[in-house]
Amino acid sequence: MDAFKSIINSLSEPQIMFSFLVLVFFFIFPPSDKLYRIHKKLRLDLLWTNVGGVFIFTGLFVFFGLGVTDENFRLIVTKPDNVPIVGLLFLTIFFLWLSMKQGRDNDIRLAEGQKPNEYHDPEDKVLVWPDLVYIELIAIVLCSILLMVWSIYLKAPLEGPANLADSPNPSKAPWYFLGLQEMLVYFDPWLAGVVLPSFIVLGLMAIPYIDSNRKGQGYYTFNERKTEISLFLFGWLLLWVFLIFVGTFLRGPNWNFFGPFEEWSLSKVVPLTNINLSELVYVRWLKTGLPDNIFLREFFGISFVVGYYLILPPLLARTILKKFYSKMGIFAFSMFVILLLTSVTLPIKMYLRWTLNLKYIVAIPEFFFNI
């Protein structure tokens, strides 16, 4: 059992877990026709059937059931403010399954030339009273019961009185912002706390204006909207929910990583040998010292960033994203590519950190300008 636990501990290191999830992600939610065929061939679409659902949830329940027998695991998942996240995890997976299942069912119908399951004769409507109001009533009653039972059995947390002189270790933001706090590992606050959140909000708002696919409106489907769904789920599941999950459960004192079965010890020391791109280039590779001129020093980093945002988009428009470019027009396409590239900066910086210990691509602390 202990060996098993330590395997899980090391598998849940962000570098391993994230790489694994990214790898399987594109087979489970294929964005392109080619990957979709592989997805079908591997029979991964069976996840979105009743049997698949039972399989997924048995796995989850077994993991949690065995997990809570471990003291360290129990300590983090039953911390009152963490309970909603455990709930969120189950609910997210459940509704993911439910929507993908209905999508799969509809895709099969559509392939046979039938209308989706949601379709009914437009003349054949139902009355809101009683058909909808009683469902609303039941939903309200169930929701109230849930809330009351939850409130009776779980006390709202209250720690010692506020004291600015005594900072707890770790200090965590509320859980729904832990994705941002986790990004602080890889980005400076002006990016992780201000620029990227603004991009998330604006990016969400832009979705209806970027997505030019008019199919698949008003019913569940995967096949008709693969690219949209795949990209949205990548952002939502891997760049948001996953980070919250890591930030909440796997970050302990000094924001160090701790496996789910590992004790949060204050003395865990993780060597910090992070370096900047300029040091990497000038000191390690060219074996000269850092130039004094800031622009000369940051030349490589700045070129990288400028190239990333100015040269890559037109290049993509001519090559792999050609189809999108001709369909969307220049305005929507630019918006799409900038959002896409920006969200990919997160995994890029994660991997640069994990492989090269890279801290900043551009580091101009003189102006608080670090990327």
């Binding site: 439910l98 139902v126 009273w129 009185p161 600015l164 409106q217 909207r225």
Partner: protein, 263 residues
């Protein structure tokens, strides 16, 4: 058995002058009465009278939009009750929270309010997810999706401002961590890129006592002024704004042709 013409007690009450004056239609039995039941009631009238079959299925909407609204109402009611007991000052806040649990009868209001806040964030996320997965943001509903994103942001801001109010270690440090990021806002935070450019001669316009973080906290640290600001925003400011956007959201659902569906 019973004479069908003879009215039961329940029917008599339901058809009394008093109840008819309130509900106008009486117990809706006929199709016409059922339509009138919705049309005549200001709350039910948020709905259309008739809906396509798929729209009333839990499988389709998961009820998440409606539940978000319901949980919001629960939070409003429990929030008002909490305001009877809670005073937003450094001196009293913490003690009032303890009293809420220990002195107030039926002391689970704080629990309902806190867990309700978590629940609302979850239901709103899942609602957004449902809307995405059914492609319901596509024309003509683009703008309502935009309103929805604002509702999502406001929901999180409501929760964030409320997090400080118990004035315990959890609260103050979570808000400190959260608001520290504002220091780094480009141009507007004193440790943000570009802030040094906003200067007249030698005088910096953006410094620790004039940047956005200062405006948010009402000081350089999370303190008395922060507590008051967050309290006012939490109890009046954000609820007021979110209600306006909810009204627009609901109105637009109807105006955009009701709930989405296949054609």
């Amino acid at each position: 058995m019973a004479d069908p013409k003879k009215k039961t007690m329940f029917q008599k009450i339901a058809e009394s002058q008093f109840l008819k004056s309130i509900f106008r239609t009486g117990i809706p039995h006929t199709r016409r009465q059922r339509m009138m039941a919705v049309l005549n009631n200001v709350f039910l009238h948020l709905h259309p009278v008739r809906l396509p079959k798929h729209a009333v299925k839990v499988k389709y909407t998961w009820c998440m939009g409606g539940l978000s609204f319901f949980v919001f109402l629960v939070l409003t009611v429990t929030g008002i009750l909490l305001m009877f007991y809670y005073r937003p000052t450094v001196e009293y806040a913490y003690g009032d929270i303890i009293d809420l649990a220990e002195q107030v009868p039926l002391g689970i209001m704080r629990e309902i309010h806190r867990w309700g806040a978590h629940l609302m964030i979850i239901t709103v996320w899942l609602h957004m997810f449902r809307v995405f997965m059914t492609g319901s943001y596509k024309p003509p509903r683009e703008f309502n999706w935009v309103i929805g994103v604002l509702l999502l942001v406001l929901t999180m801001l409501l929760s964030f401002t409320g997090y400080l109010l118990p004035w315990d270690q959890l609260a103050i440090w979570a808000i400190t961590v959260g608001s520290n990021m504002a220091r780094a806002t480009p141009f507007l935070g004193h440790e943000g890129p570009g802030a040094a450019l906003l200067a007249i001669g030698d005088i910096n316009l953006v410094h620790a006592a004039s940047d956005v973080r200062f405006a948010l906290l009402g000081g350089r640290f999370v303190g008395e002024a922060t507590l008051l600001r967050f309290y006012v925003l939490h109890c009046i400011g954000f609820p007021f704004i979110i209600m306006i956007f909810m009204v627009v959201h609901f109105w637009r659902i109807r105006k955009d042709g009701g709930i989405s569906g296949p054609t």
